[in-house]
Amino acid sequence: MSNLQVTLCGKTFKNPVIPASGTFGFGREYDEIYDISVLGGVCTKGLTLEPRAGNPVPRIAESRGVILNAVGLQNPGVERFIAEDLEWLKGKTRVIANVAGSSLDDYAKICARLDGLVDFIELNISCPNVKCGGMAFGIKPESVREVTAAAKRECKRTPLVVKLSPNVESIANNARAAEEGGADCVSLINTLTGMAIDVERRKPVIANNTGGVSGAGVKPVAVRMVYEVSRAVSIPVIGMGGITCAEDAVEFLLAGATAVQVGTQNFTDTLACPKIIAGLDAWCENHGVKNVAELTGGLQLN
């Protein structure tokens, strides 16, 4: 047994594997299949101040090695999450609340509401699927800095993670902007905006026309971005994008991530996260790695 524990912003995680926002709900459904307390943490479905109905269906499509989704932030609202799911989830593992808004005020309010109640707040400033999903805040470094600062003012007790969009000029510059705005950590990558067309109907498969691309096929892009960002900032990085197995997770750790999130693979294999955790343990043991945390940033460039 290797030591899989990692520390992020002074908080320990029993292992670095966290299901990514939007693929895992609030954990209850997966907990019917396996005990989710084995997870390092859970990143919740994106929360907004008010409930949201989301986009029309179809909301998902598949392409080689990737999927596209445009759920559109359907969620029951932060109050129902707090009332119905939060205590239960906290009893299981670390809780990262993913939050979205359409104005600086929305972000400030939802952070204020969750401050002190969850382990981390992850700022979704990069949802590509709704007009007011915060994507506008995630593009330019100045607005990344501004929304981070507005959120950080309300995060008095809870560390703030800023989730970065890959659909930008320079993700490293945006990471620096988040750090300057007061982010305690950054996570990346959110989905890449894409389109899949049904050639028979000559229409996009997804009702929203475009959707966020994720899954195994995006991994090299994500690894490169994690590598760039981890060298651009001094705050910790949570890496994600196409992780399907323990070796993929190790890649992200070597590129500079302290922890990883697993998204699409939860759809391919409901047991993906526990398998990756077990696989990480085996990988570390086979490679003489006593602490998984040693891997972070261990990349040796050619």
Binding site: G25, E29, R59, I60, G65, T270
Partner: protein, 249 residues
């Protein structure tokens, strides 16, 4: 619901573009009629949600139509003896109250398969089945549908059975058989016609819906449908079976 590794017993074509896949799980899995499973097709990120047609302990049969890459690969690459990763049983399934005795079953296309599961399960009910097909070549599993008290096969071209749709065939006999409930599954135009046919009759109609899915267990909110009360429901978890007036079709 659970993740299982299943061994394929048979994967054969039974009608035009329709395959019957039977697999065996390590342990017996209780499956209600109308419940479905998610089948992983090697290397593809999304699993295929497919209704269970027959469940006999460890032995499960599903039927699927060749549609996209996933189903084509499932048909051509998966032979008896090979393994599949399957998540099951999923969704709510059909349920009937004790006093609902006379049941009409209306199906079309691959929608007939979850209804076959209902016919096989509700043996103490008086079942009138109306099953629609494009033509004679599309008709399959007649031996299973014959378990109903009365079976009407309808074909669009009249090449066998009733010339017309399953809903038209049902509509002609509805007032005579006086069903206490209707179970239905099929293409959206069929469900719309059925909704119209039973409007104002006070007969509960339970329809099984289809939608593109992500996780299959209710977590990702990809496969939602619009409810008539304004809320959204998850087809995979709150459904796939809904009362016809409960959802927008």
């Amino acid at each position: 619901m659970r993740e299982v590794t299943a061994v394929i017993l048979e994967n054969k074509q039974i009608a035009e573009e329709v395959y019957e896949l039977t697999f065996c799980t390590e342990q017996s899995v209780p499956v209600l009629p109308g419940q479905f499973c998610m089948i992983g097709v090697g290397g593809m990120p999304l699993r295929r949600p497919i209704a269970v047609c027959k469940a006999e302990g460890e032995r499960i049969t599903v039927c699927y139509r060749l549609k996209g890459e996933g189903t084509h690969r499932l048909a051509s690459e998966y032979k008896a003896g090979e393994t599949l990763r399957v998540l099951l049983p999923l969704g709510n399934g059909f349920s009937l109250a004790k006093e609902q005795k006379r049941i009409a079953v209306v199906g079309g296309g691959v929608g007939i398969f979850p209804l076959i599961s209902a016919i096989r399960t509700f043996r103490d009910k008086e079942i009138y089945a109306y099953m629609g097909f494009r033509n004679r070549g599309a008709v399959c599993m007649e031996y299973e549908m014959l378990r109903a008290k009365k079976l009407t096969i309808a074909t669009d071209d009249g090449s066998v059975g009733y010339h017309g749709t399953a809903v038209q065939a049902f509509q002609e006999e509805m007032s005579r058989i006086k069903p206490q409930a209707v179970l239905a599954c099929g293409p959206t135009p069929m469900l719309r016609a059925l909704k119209q046919a039973v409007a104002g009759k006070g007969i509960p109609v339970y329809v099984s819906l289809e939608e593109r899915m992500g996780c299959g267990i209710g977590a990702c909110l990809v496969c939602t449908c619009q409810k008539t009360d304004g809320a959204r429901a998850r087809v995979c978890k709150d459904g796939p079976v809904f009362e016809i007036n409960e959802v927008e079709i």
